[in-house]
């Protein structure tokens, strides 16, 4: 983020203005990615008129950066009508897509509408690996062809590469592909739970060894010593700071009009079908609760070595049960980066040690239940 944008964000936070909003236009998708956190059925998406009205309200509220995402945005037949409306309102529009439906005509239209950028999900440079994740044969070719069309129109394209067990060896290949295509590439090792709380997708994430390796790849992190350094002790200013932009300068709106602090923070705060966007932003009890949290208020994390530079996601913490609690996935990242376990990890180890007596009690109960013969065998 540029220094000027940081300054604008700080001003927006002070003025309580939602500078940046992600709006998912649909959860429907033409891919079936194995790690996806969404259910792809349509439970009653906002109509074209409802979305245009919402965009009007967002512009009035001061929203500047509008990210249109999904699901797959190009599955909405009114996508370009919505995008045109957004650009009439002079939003800085960013798109997230698999781009499977983007051909020359769509790329040219996106150029004419002056989008800021389009992020395209690519999981591997190898078709067999990428297509095994999207579960759509031929999807890598379609997406890469689309990136070429978008680039030929002079558009800024960013490849988003999620790191999982299935593709963990392929990120150098994806980066090489990005270089060949002349586009940026981001790598994200976070696999999020599903929005309904189902955590089965989290198991697809990479483990400590791979994270350790990734965080020591100079092509990704630059100066390893600097990146992996143990952070200095948190000062008062650190502890008075806010965890992230969710609810402060940013929020998320689902295709059904539900407003959340962030796409990764499934705490409902209101619905734009029955309330004005600005009223939800300013007056929702839930949004104000999220907004009230400072690092000094966190349970466990406040005393953690990593508190001043942890990537702790309040949404992931919320999905673990406590928005003021730790986010285990981020603890693992901090540990892989520095080699120093987080306060949460230490607390869990201690809890594990302290829980031994209760495990023994269970064994005793079990042996009692099976009768004396078991006891005799152990003896």
């Amino acid at each position: 983020m540029s220094a000027l944008l940081l300054e604008m964000s700080a001003r927006a936070q002070k003025l309580n203005i939602p500078l940046s909003v992600q709006l998912d236009l649909t959860y429907r998708c033409n891919e079936r990615c194995v790690h996806c956190y969404l259910d792809h059925d349509d439970h009653g998406e906002m109509t074209t008129a409802e979305i245009k009205h919402l965009l009007d309200e967002m512009a009035d509220a001061g929203v500047f950066i509008l990210t249109l995402s999904g699901g797959e945005i190009f599955l909405r037949k009114d996508f370009f009508e919505i995008l045109e409306h957004a650009r009439r309102l002079m939003f800085c529009v960013k798109l997230k897509s698999n781009a499977v439906l983007v051909r020359e005509r769509e790329a040219a239209r996106l150029r004419d509408l002056n989008i800021e950028s389009i992020q395209v999900s690519i999981y591997s440079h190898r078709p067999d690996v990428h297509d095994a994740i999207t579960l759509i044969p031929g999807s890598l070719k379609r997406s890469v062809d689309a990136i070429r069309y978008l680039k030929s129109q002079g558009l800024k394209v960013i490849i988003a590469n999620v790191l999982m067990t299935q593709n963990m060896q392929d990120y150098p290949g994806v980066r090489a592909l990005a270089k060949e295509l002349g586009v940026e590439c981001t790598l994200d090792p976070t696999v999020t739970p599903m929005m309904d709380g189902n955590r089965s997708t989290v198991g697809l994430g990479v483990g400590h060894e791979v994270l350790h390796q990734v965080f020591r790849d100079t092509s990704l992190v630059g100066d390893i010593d600097e990146f992996c350094a143990i952070p200095p002790a948190a000062g008062e200013d650190d502890l008075e700071s806010t965890p992230c932009s969710a609810g402060h300068t940013a929020c998320y709106v689902s295709p059904y009009g539900d407003v959340f602090p962030c796409v990764q923070f499934p705490l409902p705060t209101g619905n734009v079908r029955t309330q004005r966007f600005i009223d939800i932003w300013r007056h929702s009890d839930q949004m104000n609760e999220v907004r009230s949290i400072r690092l000094k208020d966190l349970t466990t994390c406040t005393s953690c070595t990593h508190v001043s530079n942890c990537t702790r996601c309040p949404g992931l913490a919320f999905m673990e049960g406590n928005m003021r609690g730790p986010s285990t996935q981020d603890c693992e990242k901090s540990f892989a980066r520095t080699g120093v376990p987080s306060a949460n990890m230490l607390a869990k180890r201690l809890a594990g040690a302290n829980s031994r007596p209760s495990n023994l009690v269970q064994i005793r109960t079990l042996s009692t239940a099976v009768g004396n013969s078991a006891s005799s065998a152990i003896a």
């Binding site: 000027l4 003025l15 001061g62 500047f64 009439r88 002079m90 529009v93 004419d112």
Partner: protein
């Protein structure tokens, strides 16, 4: 003496934050902020009103400044913003288009 016309470049993204415009260049996504005077100029830049009229109508009444000096400053600013492709400038009225390419 020829008159200068100014128009907002419809390709940019823009929003007012606390009375000052944030503008993102369509050329390279560089972010600019305009101070309150430049914001007045941006908002009045409709392609049809000459710059001297904008200065006379919108800037001089709000700031204690000599019209000639204000116009010179405004011209310098307009040319600088045009260099960043934030404004369009011309010695003829500029037919404006909105960001989706429709003429207005």
């Amino acid at each position: 003496m020829s008159r200068l016309y100014v128009a907002r470049n419809p390709r940019v993204a823009a929003r007012s934050l606390d009375g000052e415009m944030m503008i993102m260049s369509a050329r390279d996504s560089t972010l600019f902020t305009l101070n309150k005077t430049a914001t007045i100029l941006w908002q009045a830049a409709d392609g049809a009103t000459p710059l001297d009229e904008i200065v006379h109508q919108h800037i001089c009444p709000r700031f204690e400044v000599e019209p000639a000096e204000a116009l010179q400053d405004a011209e310098t600013l307009a040319r600088e913003l045009a260099g960043h492709e934030i404004l369009q400038i011309s010695e003829e009225p500029i037919p404006t288009r909105n960001p989706v390419g429709e003429s207005r």
